[in-house]
Structure formats: C-alpha cells, structure tokens
Symmetry: none
Subunit: 479 residues, 2 copies
C-alpha cells in the first residue's frame, strides 16, 4: 500500500496515475456495468422484487472487492446497500467523510416493442456522439453510480486507499417514491452523517459543459380512480342518461390548468418565489437554445406558463402533469361501452417553499368538486417531497466546479433541475449535509424511455471527474 501524496486545491501529482488507471481499465469497468445492467431491478413492480435483491447483492459483492465493509440491509421494501471504506492515508482524522448516494433500481421498460433490443441485455451502440451503452438503467442510475465506484476502485488500485473516508449508500426504491429511505436515514443517521453528500443522478448542462445542480424541484404523485355505474353499460341502452366516468375524469383533468397554462389549484403558488437577479442573469447567459431543446423531441412551442422562459419552466416554476390515463375499451375495433371506471396518474413538480401536503390536499379537493353526482373518486398517494435549493457558497461547491472544469471542454455551471431528487432535501433536513449533485447524463439519453443509453464518454469522463473531485475534496471541507 502506497502512501498518499498531499492533497491540494489543484490537481495533484497523486491524481495522474489514478486517471491513467481509469483509462486503462475502461473495458473492465464497462464489463462490470453490463453485469449490473443485466439485472432487471424494476422497483415499482412486485414481480421484480427478486431482481432488486439480486442487484443489491451484486453491489455488495462488488464493493467488497474494494475492501469495503458492505451489507444489503433489509427495509420494508427493497434492500438498502451500505458500505464503508475508511481513509487509510495521511492524516486520517483530517480527511473528510463523504457519503456517496445512488440507486440501483430502474424504471419499467415498457413499451418493449419500441426498444431496438432487450432492455436488460446491454449493448454498445452508436449514439449521437459516439459509442453508448443501451440498457434500462444505463443512465438512471446504474451507469452513473458506477462512475463513482470505478473512480474509487482506481484510487484504491493505485494508492491502496481512498483520499477520504467514503460511505456508499445505494437505494432500491428511488423509482417508486423511496418509501423506506426516510425511516432508514432516521434509524442510521449517526452512521450515515458525513461532511458532504455526493450524488450522481443528474445531467450535464450540455455535452461539453458539466454541471452542479444547485436547485431541484420537488414532487407530488397522485393516482385517482373515478367510479360511476356499478358495471360497464351498453351505450345504446344507457347512453345519454348514465354518468360516464371517462368524460367526468377528462373534464376534471382539463380544469387543472387555466388558459395561460397556470395551475388552478387553490394556493398552488404559495411559496413560489421569483428568481434572484444574479441567478437569473447566470441562467440567461447559459448557451441554451430553447428551439433546439424542444426541436430535439419533435416540439416547437413552450407549453408552460405564458411569459416564462423555457429554463424557468423547467427549473424554477412548478408544474402539473398527467402521466397516465386509462378507462373503458382500449382494444382493437370498437365497443360502444359506457365504462364503469376511469383512472389517471398525475404528478406535480414543486419549487421554492411549496408544501407537498398542501398541494395534494388542494388537488384532491379540486378533483372532488369537479366530478358530477354519481362519480366517486379515490386517491392513492405516490410520494411527495418539497423542492431543494443548495447553499452554493460552501467551499466544496467551488472546488468541485474547478475539478469538473479541468476534465471537460467547457467550465462547469451551477444549474437548476426540473426533476426531483428528494435525497438532497432529506440529507439537508435529516443529516445536516449539503449535497453535490453531479451527473454525466445528456438530455437525449432517453432516460425513462425506450432505448435508454449512456455515452461511453459520459461513463469514462464521469469516472475521471469523480477521481478529480475526490482529490479536490480530500481535505476537511468543514471547520
């Protein structure tokens, strides 16, 4: 075991061989990632519970090869992987304690017919920027979490140790609302609390510009079931006189937005602030082409609130979206049925100080009020988390920004995210830690969609980025 050289604020001599090791071991790293991608760890579908367990066990076994004390801990749902690697270099007492979080569960893969290959048989394909790994979970989040694991592996291979004390936390329920996460953090706070959390589950700003995400939208998920007649009816016998739950649902959902695209729920915009001037100026300076962004997915007109920029719509304004709807006859041909039931899945992205519970309550009240007599509704909650806004004046943010900027063609940016990563809020609230949200996914990587992929370059330079960040952060970031 070699002795770690001194750390500094600039890329140090100890870093170069780690980067070389990462370059040399790229095929091995890809092969390991493919092993993890083959496990169909779809957390939302109980049929795949065994696969989730298998993915957790795979990570435990892999982390054990780094010398970590690794375990798959049982929860009420899928297991939580926890592993510790102590800093064994110079000044262990002064080295920071970093908590790295990722999730090993993935979204369902349907519609399967739109994939060019088996979602759980990873393949290296030619993507828009060169080779990419195609598989469900390639960028969300297995490929991303492995960039950090592989960076740690390279540090240990070269130096026999990491430059910091690192705790790994891998969740298996991120795609189904993280029901076990909060109880787990509360039960194991002492063990998990670190100086800083690192999370790799976000996007680059663009393929040349790495990003540290400093504000995230929250999320409220709701499923609703509208019931009318006691059985499906024939529209010839009952049409005109009987309540139609699909019609009632369509009307209730149509009322969720006004003509200017604003959400109509009572009190919805309570806690939604305008952007600070400095951040607005930085966002406006970003090389963001709204037309190209929308054009890339076949669209041309921003669909959000009138008078807002696209980056505001995505990062700093709340939304209401219908994620799924179903009811009545949906097969081939025609059936003149008046369905007994209609269903929808609806979600809200939250910003600022919007209260998930208040949004949920306002939604349920508005839907109930919008339904006609003879239509009952029941609701199922699917997770809720407030928005998160980081304090970017902590030194780790600038150090990480410099490290990232050294790896990529363009300087790293502080950006917002339209998505929800509740973990950052929970780390702040429960473990008193800031979180560095750094990821290497690109927006056209088909996250949650058929043919999800991750550029081999994202994977490779992601590993190198984490190696640099570990180096940059490896002296106390507190006190």
């Amino acid at each position: 075991m070699s002795t770690l050289p001194s750390s500094s604020d600039t890329p140090s001599a100890r870093l170069a061989p780690v980067l070389e090791r990462i370059d040399a071991d790229l095929p091995g790293a890809l092969s390991r990632l493919e092993g993890l991608l083959r496990i169909p760890s779809i957390s939302t579908d109980p049929a795949f519970a065994g696969a989730c367990r298998e993915a957790a066990d795979w990570l435990v076994a892999d982390l054990a090869t780094l010398g970590a004390r690794a375990e798959a801990r049982p929860t009420g749902g899928h297991p939580m992987v926890v592993a510790h690697v102590d800093n064994s270099g110079e000044n262990p007492a002064q080295a920071p304690h970093l908590l790295f979080y990722g999730h090993y569960d993935v979204q369902p893969a349907d519609p399967l017919e739109l994939w060019d290959g088996d979602p759980f048989e990873p393949a290296v394909i030619e993507g828009p920027r060169g080779p990419a790994i195609r598989a469900r979970g390639a960028n969300d989040d297995k490929g991303q979490l492995m960039t950090f694991v592989e960076a740690a592996r390279a540090w240990i291979a070269v130096h026999g140790a990491l430059p910091a004390r690192v705790t790994f936390l891998f969740e298996g329920e991120e795609e189904c609302g993280s029901p076990s996460l909060l109880p787990f953090l509360d039960a194991h706070g002492e063990e998990l609390r670190a100086d800083l959390a690192l999370v790799c589950d976000t996007d680059m700003f663009d393929p040349q510009t790495p990003a540290i995400t400093t504000q995230l939208r929250g999320l409220v998920g709701e499923e609703l079931h509208v019931r009318g007649p006691s059985r499906d009816l024939h529209s010839g016998s009952f049409g005109g006189a009987a309540a139609n739950p699909v019609r009632a649902l369509a009307k209730a959902l149509a009322g969720l937005h006004d003509e200017r695209g604003a959400v109509t729920l009572r009190g919805f915009y309570d806690g939604v602030d305008e952007l600070p001037d400095a951040l607005r100026a930085q966002w406006e300076a970003l090389p963001f082409d709204a037309g190209a962004f929308l054009g890339g997915v076949g669209l041309s007109v921003p669909a959000g609130e009138a008078g807002r920029s696209v980056l505001e719509m995505l990062w700093s304004r709340p939304t209401c979206e219908i994620n799924g709807i179903w009811g009545g006859y949906t097969g081939a041909g025609f059936k003149t049925v008046l369905p007994a039931e209609a269903h929808a899945k609806v979600s809200f992205r939250l910003v600022g100080r919007q209260d998930p519970d208040a949004v949920r309550a306002a939604f349920r009240a508005q839907i109930r009020a919008a339904l006609p007599a003879d239509c009952d509704v029941s609701f199922t909650a699917h997770g809720g988390a407030p928005a998160t806004v980081m304090s970017t004046d902590a030194p780790a943010f600038e150090r990480a920004r410099a490290a990232l900027s050294a790896e990529w063609p363009r300087p790293a940016a502080f950006i917002g995210s339209g998505g929800s990563i509740p973990i950052a809020g929970l780390f702040r609230e429960r473990l008193d830690m800031d979180t560095l949200l750094i990821g290497f996914r690109n927006e056209d990587d088909a996250m949650h969609s058929p043919n999800e992929r991750y550029d081999v370059e994202s994977f490779h330079k992601g590993m190198r980025s984490w190696a640099r960040i570990l180096d940059a952060l490896s002296h106390p970031v507190r006190g």
Copy 2:
C-alpha cells in the same frame, strides 16, 4: 282449404281458431325451436360456417312445410334464406305484401363456464317470471323469428292460407356486421320489396307492455390518436416546457359538452327535432321509473342534457360518449413520464335527420382546433349510420298496436330505442318500406350473455301476437 273470412280492423272471427291452434300446438312449436337452437350457428367464427349453413337449411326445410317457395341463397358469407308464401285467399290482389326479417346466426357462447348448461342444448328452466327456454339464440334471434313462423303455420293449418302475401328473409350475418345484407338487398330489391317490413328482434317495454319501436338512434364511431413529443419524455427533464398529449386530449374531450350537458359540436343539433306532442304525451304516460332504471346500475342522477327526461335522453336525444381512453403509464406504481401519445374512442348516438358524415367532420374539426401547437391528431372511422324514425301515422302502426294491446295485459307502446338496428334504416333507404319492429324479449333475458333465455310466455304470446297482427294488417296498407 277453407275460405278466409273477411278482414276488418278488429279481431275477426277468422282469428279465434288460429289462436286456439297456437295454444294447442305450443309443445310442437317449442320442440321445433329447440331443433333450431341445437345448431351452433355462430357467424363471427369461421369454425362454425358449417353450422350456419345447417341452420339456413333447417329453416328452408321448415318453411317448405308451410308450402313456401324457400331457398338458401349463397352470399359472400353465410347464406340468406328467402321464402315466399302467396296469399291464396279472397281478393289476393288487394292483400298486402309483408316482408318478415329475422336472423338465424347467434353470438359466440363464451365464457362457457358461466353457463348453467350447454348453450346449444336448449333446456326449459325456471326464469324470473316462470318457465323459460335457455340457449344461445333463445331470444336473439331464433326464438323471436320462430314466433312469426309459428303464427304463419297456425294460419295455414286452420285456413289453408295466410291472409297476406308474405316473404321471409333470414340473415346469417347479423352478429358480425351484416356484410352481405346491403348487396343482397340491392341485387334482389324487386323480389324483396313489400308494403311493409316486420322485424322481430327487439324488446318489450316491460313484461306486461308490448312495444313497437318507432325510432332508433344512429351511430358514429371515431378513434383518435394524439401525438406530441417524438418519444416519451421524463417529466423532470421536460415537464412544464413540453406539450403533454394526455392533457391536450383531456382538454379537447372535456370541451365536447357544455355545462348543461349539450354537445358542443358545430351544427350537431341540425336535424334534431322536438318530440311530436302526441308521442311526448305517450312517453310521459309510460310506467317508466327513472330512479329504478338508474338505481339498477348504481346511479341516481340523469347525466344528459338539462331539462330532458331520461326517456328523451335514451331515445330521442343525440349523445356523445367516450368509450375508451388510454395514454402514458398505466401499470402498477408510478412513472413520471410525459407520454408521446394519447388515444380515445368516441361515439355519437344520432337522432332525427342528423347526418353521420357531418357529425364526423364537425368532431374532427373541433378536436383539431382544441389541440395546442405541437399536438397532431389522426382519426380512424368506426362506422356511421343515421337514425331511423318511422312514420307512425301510417295505418299499419295503429293497427299493429291495437292487435298487440289485445294480447297483452297493458296497451302497446310506441317507444324509441337508444341502440341502432341498421336493418330498419336499410329497408327505408333501399326498399322504400317502413318497418314494424316488434319483439317479445325482456331486458333481463341475458341477450349476448351466458344463460341467454326467452320466456315461454314471450314465445307463446309472441306467436299469438303475430297471428293477431297478420289479421289486423291483412288488407292493403297502401293506396
């Protein structure tokens, strides 16, 4: 061969022995019906094509015993049975020509496990109102068509002749869309055109009240496919800025009705007339319990246009119904997808002189106009037929009503039907004939369902009803 007594507008002396003959021969009539019911003439399943042929041959042989010139005529599908019985009584030139239509094909019998016995082994069981014949086709339509055949048999047995010239037309494709019917009518119009058509394939108003269905709603079916982004998107990455086809579809569908329940399509109510006062008064006098009708399917409030009675909503007002809707993630759990597509099936029941093509065009135009930029829509047509409204001032309608009223506990009603029976429209359009739609089925007879049945009383009094109607109609209804 006896000489027919004179016809008149009231039950004549010649009728009484015919009714006695029907009463005496009830066991024989039931036995013949059972013979027809044993043939599994399922028209929609090619495996039963031989059985359809067998049912047609059975009818040809049975009609031949009445002295009819009967044939099973080939079509592109199952055969069409055509038979003629000339009037051989007094004043043959003045006797009316009646065309009786029925269909010998039946619905598939599945799910077989829900039947209490073999669907093609008829059994007399105890039904809700007394003995009933249980078999597939018992009320739709073999039992109903045989009521007329048996009435004719009794007339011929007693008097050696029918009091009218009668043509029988039995179709074998009614349950699979009648593909051969229109070409057959066009090819054989001269042979089939009569003074009046009789059809026995409808319901009683209630078990005590026979009915003549004098207006039928038409139907327009549409399927629509709304497409927005070129692929499913993640609502975290695109939510707020990207068009959501499910939201767009919900809004477009919600706009199809106004706050008073009226359909908003441009020109939709063109050709929709108010009920004639006499018919409105008759409908209002019907022993119809709207609360019980809706309560039977778990509802309590009429859902149609404000200010309309439930019978109007069902029989004389047009509707727009959403029969199915689907889009986005509809599986277990939650997926924050912005779906690329959303779909619906929508149908319109038409009345009066509404034009199916105009309704379809107005629907498509309104949906297109309601969708935002970036949402395209395509449509698939699923059939279209105008409403049928009989001219109930033709003398045959009142004569038949009087004849039916003499047979049953309560006077016969002129009613509407919310459903569509295209044959009546075709007879009007292609053969310039009105149709008397008279049937003896009750609404709880499980038509198209397991344990389909037909009350023995329906069969018996149905035969007697037709004997009375033949008597009542047996002088020229034209000129």
